[in-house]
Amino acid sequence: MSIRIVDVHKSFGEKHILRGVSLEIEPGECFFIIGASGVGKSVIIKHLIGLLRPDKGELYVEGVEVSKLSEKELYPVRMKCAMVFQNSTLFDSMTCAENVALPLRKHRGMSMNEALKEANERLAAVRMERFADAKPAELGDGMQKRVAIARALTLDPSIVLFDEPTTSLDPVSARRTDALIRELCDRYGVTAIVVSHDLTSIFSIADRIAMLYNGTVRLLGTQQDFKTTDDEVVRQFIEGRAEGPMQL
């Protein structure tokens, strides 16, 4: 078992966002989490690396219960479990290459020059090597996101959390990102957890999908399960209909 989430609850003030979410994710799986805006998709994956703490429940990452670890104890977990944030979060005082070089410099003990050299190779994998010396503010959202993916992958994590990796990407880059994620799973055995609204990604690369609704898992299953479900809420979501039983 790569990841196990057991009955996680989380509120912010009055807002009860997660009301008992349980999921199990296998090693090497490409697992999608879908659901309407504000349902708590970002919240749940932030729990996995201890950026948020549950009010109740347990989260296991490769067997380690992370919800009660101290910040320092979380560092080894975060080296194995990388995250690409929803809004790419590149450090804007640095160039793209320096962004990617930072984890190498900090954790691989590389000098700046060695790290930059490797960073350029990493940027090439997401076809961003031409922008190595650009500052993030000079790039569009989609390009920033690709750099952020390169940065998250520098330490060769065994689990990667992608928060909407294809949102704001053009269709071609989006499909390339899908291919990259699938390749990570198939070739390198990485466990990928992808939060996404992108139906094309979902129905091309997902092994399993969980749909969150009203703070719990509404449906968990394969692409086929989602295509053939009778659940009207799920149908409305994946068919993208404005009218239906779904409450937002």
Binding site: E71, L74, A82, F85, F91, H107
Partner: protein
């Protein structure tokens, strides 16, 4: 809704009577949590001060942009301060023919008090405010969480180099400021009072003690620490998007300036 309005919402005289103590209580609690927060930050910084943990690149980057780039404005302030001290003293010097004292009189207050204080206030406005805005923006755009997600400790990586840079640069800027202020004073005395640079300098050198200069440096160091801690604390405590960054900068500048005056008062009293 301000605390007073909340009090008024409660019916009857009780509500109105309670409003003020409640307001006071809330302010005291807020202040206590901020003082506590700054204290915790100081502790977090101190336990991370081993040389191997310090990110040299960040340190040098901050030394450059916080220190080197402050030299022009600090020099301008210092030159005028030195000159102004002489102009202020001029009527008395002429009245009592105390040309032999002017060098000492102008430099004594500048070195001990005005120099460090004015430099600190300008440093607060230029570097402290900038620092809070930068950290605050990083916080509200999740860049601080991104560091944590990369297993990089934000205090080690962001705060420690900034604090070291700000403290050391305040001391260096104070030395530069003292030198420039002396130049400004010599020049003004020469032009305005016809006191020769020689006479001015010998009066300063004879009567000034090393400690007058040293006290200024000690003050600068503590002012620098104050500004550094406050600006990092308020930066990292920022919440609520762009307006939050604005509020944080505001709070940081006010708190640092108040802190500088309090430290100055206590130090002048003790030392």
């Amino acid at each position: 809704m301000g605390p007073y309005e909340r009090g008024e919402l409660m019916a009857g005289p009780d509500g109105a009577l309670l409003a003020f103590p409640r307001f006071l209580g809330e302010r005291v609690l807020a202040l206590a949590s901020q003082v506590g927060g700054v204290g915790i930050l100081l502790k977090d910084v101190l336990v991370r001060l081993s040389p191997s943990q310090i990110d040299r690149l960040e340190l040098f980057r901050n030394l450059g942009r916080m220190g080197v780039k402050s030299v022009p404005i600090i020099s301008a302030t210092a030159a005028f301060t030195g000159g102004i001290m002489v102009i202020q003293a001029a009527p008395f010097v002429q009245q009592f023919q105390a040309e032999a004292f002017i060098g000492w009189a102008a430099t004594f207050t500048t070195f001990r008090e005005l120099g460090p204080l004015l430099i600190a206030l300008i440093f607060n406005g230029r570097v402290g405010a900038n620092n809070t805005a930068e950290l605050g923006t990083m916080k509200v755009t999740d860049q601080v969480d991104a560091l944590r997600a990369l297993s990089i400790d934000p205090v080690s990586y962001l705060v420690v180099p900034r604090i070291l840079a700000m403290v050391s640069m305040m001391v260096v800027l104070c030395v530069i400021g003292d030198a420039v202020a002396l130049g400004g004073a010599v020049l003004t005395a020469d032009l305005l009072l016809d006191v020769s640079p020689n006479l001015f300098l010998s009066s300063a050198v004879e009567r000034l003690e090393v400690w007058d200069f040293g006290l200024g440096l000690v003050k600068s160091l503590l002012f620098g620490l104050m500004i550094a801690l406050m600006s990092c604390y308020y930066g990292l405590a920022t919440k609520g998007g762009a307006p939050g960054v604005g509020r944080a900068v505001n709070a940081s500048v006010v708190a640092s300036a108040s802190g500088v005056f309090i430290v100055d008062y206590l130090l002048t009293f003790i030392l």
